[in-house]
């Protein structure tokens, strides 16, 4: 008899059916949702892996019969349970409020415990009171944990950004004018009353607009103008459905200008990767969160703060954007194959069906998922929730991203298993909207298992 690889136990586990904990929970694999706050994910899940199917068989028999369902209807159970989770809104909003209170309490301490903050944040950060903005800044390491030095740090970083802007965003005309004004103090402005031949003067350093030299500021300016044009085009196309970014209002214009400035300065400071299409998508949620901060001071300086956080966030992912590294061990190909391995580890049946039977090469869908940090797959509010988890997870955003992607695949497994190449590709390239908290929960489960 061919032993079909069973679906991992936790997919069948009871906590998906209701938020309260049934009595026989102690025998099953993971604690109920309310235990999350005590932090730490269980180590009991060691049994659920590709090993001993007989052991898993036994565990299946332990929970009451009501919960043993045959495999084919597994997906329906998942759907039903997710509906039920969705409907228990009253419970979750109470949880929300208490979570918000806990976060606020954590943030108001003089020295913030980053580990605590991470755990609280991984459950999802509420949208109110600029909590997300401050939390993200702490998680990305922009704000130090010691609250007392916040204002000093912030003013230092902000003035640094101001210098960057002055140095890198001025055009060569202004630069030459400033150089001259500083070199020769106010020599009377050529107001030669009457007539006369205008005096010719030497040009400084052979700098003239048509210069072809590599060190010429004019030449660099014209070379950069290509990149600036591309940045401009991409920024205009960012999130066209959101008022914050698109439209003709002065507010949207200012936001787009800020995005452009950040990207241009980043491109100039990093000649190695310059600007690659897609960076604007990663920048947009960061800027949105920081700019929407109710704290006036933060909102006004959102551009500077976003720049440094963007650099920090991208430092984890910059290898994805470098074309030369595509085939290397840190490049995007290897990341995609790791996702594939992760899927194989957790759900071999699905993996086999996807990659071997229907030959859906993960590069077709995962490339966009990974390089753009899932910003193109979900709507904006969902993106913010997913990023809460990505940024707060202590293993780091890269690993967490893979787990979320794996969870995304597993959630639609029934449709994938039933589909052929075209259907699956279509499904994965326009991922259906789902309950994001559910998705993140599943991703968390994967985290707890893959560490063992």
């Amino acid at each position: 008899m061919v032993k079909k690889k069973r679906v991992p136990d936790w997919l069948n586990s009871p906590m998906w059916s209701s938020p309260s904990s049934p009595p026989w929970k102690s025998q099953s694999l993971s604690p109920p949702p309310s235990d999350h706050r005590t932090g730490g994910y269980p180590s009991k899940s060691s049994s659920v892996t590709s090993s001993d199917s007989s052991v898993t068989e036994q565990r299946f028999l332990l929970p009451p019969a009501a919960l043993i369902r045959p495999e084919p209807t597994l997906k329906s159970e998942i759907r039903v349970s997710s509906n039920r989770i969705g409907s228990s809104d009253n419970d979750s909003s109470v949880e929300d409020v208490s979570r918000q209170a806990q976060l606020l309490q954590e943030l108001s301490k003089k020295i913030i415990n980053l580990g605590e903050l991470r755990q609280l944040a991984s459950l999802g950060i509420p949208d109110a009171a600029g909590i997300r903005s401050t939390t993200w800044k702490l998680l990305l390491g922009y704000l130090p944990v010691d609250k007392r030095i916040w204002s000093a740090e912030l003013s230092k970083k902000r003035s640094q950004y101001k210098h960057f802007k002055e140095d890198l965003l001025t055009n060569p005309s202004e630069i030459t004018r400033k150089l001259e004004d500083s070199a020769s103090p106010k020599n009377g402005d050529q107001i030669i009353m009457g007539r006369g031949l205008l005096a010719r003067s030497k040009i400084p350093n052979g700098e003239h607009p048509l210069s072809l030299g590599n060190t010429s500021i004019w030449n660099q300016y014209f070379q950069d103008s290509e990149i600036i044009e591309q940045i401009d085009r991409d920024v205009k196309r960012t999130h066209p459905d959101i008022q914050f970014f698109s439209g003709d209002s002065a507010f949207a214009e200012a936001n787009r200008d800020s995005l452009k400035n950040i990207l241009i300065i980043f491109a100039k400071l990093n000649p190695g990767i310059r600007y690659v299409q897609g960076m604007n998508e990663i920048l947009a949620p960061l800027f949105y969160v920081f700019k929407s901060d109710p704290n006036e001071d933060y909102a006004v300086n959102a551009e500077a703060d976003t720049f440094f956080c963007f650099v920090e966030l991208l430092s984890d992912f910059r290898d994805n954007f470098c074309q030369q590294l595509d085939n290397s061990i840190v490049g995007i190909r290897s990341t995609i194959s790791r996702l594939s391995q992760l899927l194989k580890q957790h759900d071999e049946e699905l993996w086999r069906h996807l990659e071997v039977t229907t030959k859906v090469n993960p590069q077709f869908y995962a490339f966009r998922w990974i390089t753009l940090l899932l910003t193109q797959e979900f709507n904006f509010t969902d993106i913010l929730h997913i990023w809460d988890m990505l940024l707060s997870n202590p293993v780091g955003p890269r690993e967490t991203l893979l787990q979320v992607c794996c969870a995304m695949l597993i959630l639609v497994r029934r449709r994938l298993l039933a589909g052929d190449f075209t259907a699956n590709l279509k499904l994965l390239q326009s991922y259906p909207s789902t309950n994001v908290s559910h998705l993140l929960y599943v991703a968390n489960k994967l985290n707890s298992q893959s560490t063992h």
């Binding site: 005309s173 001259e180 031949l197 205008l198 010719r200 030497k202 003239h208 607009p209 072809l212």
Partner: protein, 188 residues
């Protein structure tokens, strides 16, 4: 920061075959926003070449131009400056600064660009500035000896103009610049 190229008196193909190679290598599309040409190109191919450098091309008619549809004079407003354009063979005596000043007052412009003498000149008088970009090919002229190929690039930035003069002397490109500011016009 608007870059305006002032060029003229090429006399291609009658007196010169082409622009000097060193000039040609510097004049690439994408950098210049406007071209003002004093005239005497003389043929359509030169017109097309200049058009490829920049779509905004203004030309006035020189006496040897084959296209008779170019106007005699033209005025253009770029930024805060009004520029006037005329070939210069109409203004007699040729190259005389007083007569050019008269033309400038007639056109009511801040900068008058005219050619015909094949010699670079930048001159200031009460009514404004006269610039002669010279001949870009160094074509023969009956009124000037030892013609050096030259043209002018103006960087107009607010009320300030930086005029870069490009000359080919002894096979080398020499660049100089001239700075001047426009005093804001007093209210009448």
């Amino acid at each position: 920061m608007v870059l305006v190229l002032a060029i003229g008196d090429l006399h291609i193909p009658h007196r010169a075959a082409d622009l000097p190679a060193k000039f040609k290598s510097m004049l690439v599309p994408g950098k210049i926003q406007h071209i003002i040409c004093t005239g005497n190109l003389c043929i359509k191919e030169v017109h097309d070449y200049l058009k490829s450098l920049c779509p905004s091309l203004h030309i006035t008619r020189g006496e040897y131009d084959e296209d008779s549809r170019y106007p005699e004079t033209k005025t253009i407003t770029i930024g805060q400056f009004k520029l006037g354009l005329c070939h210069g063979h109409q203004v007699v005596p040729w190259g005389d600064l007083d007569s050019l000043a008269m033309l400038q007052r007639q056109l009511d412009v801040d900068i008058l660009v005219s050619g015909h003498t094949h010699q670079f000149k930048a001159y200031k008088h009460e009514a404004g500035v006269v610039i002669n970009p010279g001949s870009a090919t160094g074509a023969y002229s009956s009124i000037t000896y030892d013609v050096n190929p030259s043209f002018v690039l103006m960087d107009i930035d607010g009320l300030r103009v930086v005029v870069y003069v490009y000359e080919l002397i002894d096979g080398e490109v020499k660049v100089d610049k001239i700075d001047f500011k426009k005093t804001s016009t007093p209210a009448i």
